[in-house]
């Protein structure tokens, strides 16, 4: 986006701020900077294609956020100026949320673009069927809402909502952009939170899920979640054996595989102490994630493509492009069907502002892991974050195959 548009957006936010004294306007602002230094793996099998991807490129983004209300409209606006090594920086204004909540008593309604996250888990959320939030990102960007019309009905301890998401649309590029109709339910029962969801969409057909969260002890929280889909999809490498022509066609590097009746399941706990420590453990199954075989096939095909460079007449651009296109599989939100997450976090109970965490995500199916160590410090309006993430595991595991070995990240945000 051209700088002039970004400037116009920033001026727009400033204008919104200028009328903040108006009784009907109530906005808070945040400025955020995030920088990432990405370290490439020296022995990656995807090396020929890496220069065509964003792997290994340091990147930064600068975000301006306005959150609150203008009259009856709830707003979450962001202006982001971001760039990465070797490319021009670009700006992007976005209305992450813009909606109106209305109604009274038990019946309530919402119209507009609204964040619709759901579910009870931390690392994986099977019944988050509308927002489809990507989890476990380091310093993630602000979520973008889903255009929707919602009818909700509340009592003291129960609620249900009918959500028409992306009205007027059918299947689109991303599943979160698909038109769909969902019924979400909630009930407090015997001290536990029960959640249910049913969703209809052209991509997955019917989806039916349930979740529970409960606190049986003052320090312990337990949660579980389950989703059954009529059909699912996953990206997979080119089917083997592949011809040379297929191997050299970037648009055939990955294919979409339809899965009949996949399941997603999560179980986990959080243990908290009065000294500010918390331990989280989760295990999950995602029947729509790539298999261990997919990753070994991906690596084998990358090696086959690289080998083709030795043959005369084989265009290097086709080899490199195909390898680069195949690395899109690393963007899968869940890397393998089985996942195990352990997280130890600490927040200074004396409220000094310091906090820290260590996450270890294992993928037992292929023997991979990713470890993240992070620290944060928060003052009155300023928050600073820093951390490092390492990818490793067995040679053909997803995280070990990834062209990157580590990411260092820093963040700073100022609220006003």
């Amino acid at each position: 986006m051209k700088p002039i548009i970004v400037l116009a957006w920033v001026l727009g936010l400033t204008a919104v701020q200028a009328v903040a004294d108006d009784a009907a306007t109530d906005l808070a602002y945040k400025t955020r900077f995030v920088g990432e230094a990405h370290g490439l793996r020296a022995d990656t099998v995807f090396a020929p294609g890496v220069p065509l991807t964003s792997f290994g490129r340091d990147r930064a983004r600068f975000e301006q956020e306005a959150r609150g209300r203008v009259g009856p409209v709830s707003l979450l606006l962001t202006g982001t100026f971001s760039g990465q090594q070797g490319q021009h920086a670009a700006g992007k204004p976005l209305a992450n949320e813009a909606y109106v909540d209305f109604g009274s008593g038990e019946n309530r309604f919402s119209a507009g673009k609204k964040i619709l996250s759901g579910d009870v888990g931390y690392g994986f959320r099977p019944i988050d069927v509308l927002q489809r939030e990507v989890r476990l990102q380091a310093l993630p960007p602000t979520l973008e809402g889903i255009p929707s019309l919602i009818w909700e009905r509340f009592t003291a301890d129960a609620a249900w909502s009918m959500v028409w998401a992306n009205p007027g649309y059918g299947r689109r590029g991303e599943s979160r952009d698909d038109g769909s109709l969902a019924l979400r339910g909630y009930r407090r029962w015997q001290g536990a939170d029960l959640h249910g969801v049913a969703r209809l969409s052209s991509r997955y057909g019917s989806e039916l899920g349930a979740a529970i969260s409960t606190v049986p002890h003052e320090s312990l929280e337990l949660h579980a979640s389950f989703l059954a889909q009529r059909r699912g999809e996953r990206f997979a490498p080119l089917a083997a054996p592949a011809t040379i022509a297929q191997l050299l066609a970037p648009d055939q590097a990955l294919r979409t595989v339809t899965i009949d009746a996949p399941r997603k399941l999560l179980a986990g706990f959080t243990w908290t102490t009065e000294r500010g420590w918390s331990v989280l453990g989760e295990a999950w199954w995602d029947g729509t994630a790539p298999t261990a075989g997919d990753w070994s096939t991906l690596a084998r095909q990358a090696a086959q493509r690289s080998a083709l460079l030795a043959f005369p007449g084989v265009p290097a651009a086709a080899v490199n492009g195909s390898i680069a296109a195949s690395t899109a599989l690393f963007a899968a939100p869940v890397r393998t069907r089985r996942g195990q997450l352990a997280r130890v976090a600490w927040t200074d109970p004396a409220a000094s502002g310091w906090s820290g965490s260590f996450d270890l995500l294992r993928t037992p199916e292929d023997g991979g892991w990713v470890a993240t160590l992070a620290a944060g410090w928060e003052a009155d309006r300023l928050r600073l974050d820093a951390g490092v993430r390492y990818f490793g595991g067995k040679s053909e595991s997803s995280y070990r195959l990834m062209p990157e070995q580590r990411v260092l990240f820093v963040g700073a945000s100022l609220a006003f």
């Binding site: 709830s74 509340f154 129960a158 407090r188 908290t272 409220a351 609220a415």
Partner: protein
């Protein structure tokens, strides 16, 4: 022969007036903190470090009988956060993920002034105990109450509370965490609110960290009864209550 009876009678008279009914004493003390059963309380928290202002936080607190409290975080850095307390159960909504997150009672203790300090405006519903003598605090003759939480979700399982003998206003409190360690001490400041003598500030001195002091100022109180649906965790993501 009359001496023992006389001593017994004098001993009974010497007992604090409300010794037999701690609940009544707590209700009288509560009236100085919250005059209405259902209310909206605008609260400002000032965190002081070594005598200097370190942080300021703003909250809108809604309370309703049945141990129901809703805390809306109003500071720019915390905007979008809400916390709901229903008896012993707690939920948090963070701006980064618009969904009610079930949390443990331990988690609500974390923070500058724990959310429990802000949202718990009464003692009578949650505590019971005994009158454990008398003591003068800052020149004010007080009843010393040793009270313990009657449910698992209270912020402080034990409180030693000092109430003025003359009008039962809270003067001082020692707040103990689950390990029976003294975590904070609270002192209460009073002012005239709508013609009534009310607590206008609570000063919390941290006993676990030196030179740390938190002032909880009650900026405004208004009788306000929100519908039951507002205290439903699923309602937290709606904007019907200020964001």
């Amino acid at each position: 022969m009359f001496k023992p009876l006389l001593f017994a009678a004098l001993a009974l008279l010497a007992l604090p007036a409300g010794a037999a009914d701690v609940k009544t004493l707590l209700k009288e003390a509560d009236a100085f903190r919250l005059a209405d059963d259902s209310a909206r309380v605008e609260t400002e928290v000032r965190v002081m470090k070594a005598g200097k202002l370190d942080k300021t936080r703003l909250y809108a607190v809604y309370v309703k009988p049945g141990r129901r409290s809703l805390v809306v975080f109003r500071s720019p850095s915390e905007r979008g956060q809400k916390m709901l307390m229903l008896g012993d159960d707690f939920w948090l909504v963070l701006p980064t993920s618009q969904r009610p997150l079930r949390i443990t009672p331990m988690q609500k203790l974390l923070g500058d002034a724990s959310t429990g300090d802000i949202a718990s405006l009464t003692w009578a519903e949650d505590y019971d105990g005994k009158v454990d003598g008398e003591q003068t605090i800052d020149g004010v003759p007080c009843l010393r109450l040793d009270i313990t939480g009657q449910r698992k979700g209270v912020s402080y399982p034990r409180i030693v509370l000092y109430l003025a003998k003359n009008d039962r206003r809270p003067v001082h409190a020692e707040l103990y965490v689950a390990s029976d360690k003294l975590a904070k001490e609270a002192d209460f400041r009073f002012g005239d609110v709508d013609g009534r003598r009310q607590v206008v500030a609570m000063v919390l001195t941290d006993r676990l960290q030196r030179e740390r002091l938190t002032e909880v100022h009650y900026l405004a109180r208004a009788a306000k009864t929100l519908g039951d649906e507002y205290y439903n965790p699923a309602f937290l993501i709606r904007a019907d209550i200020e964001n």
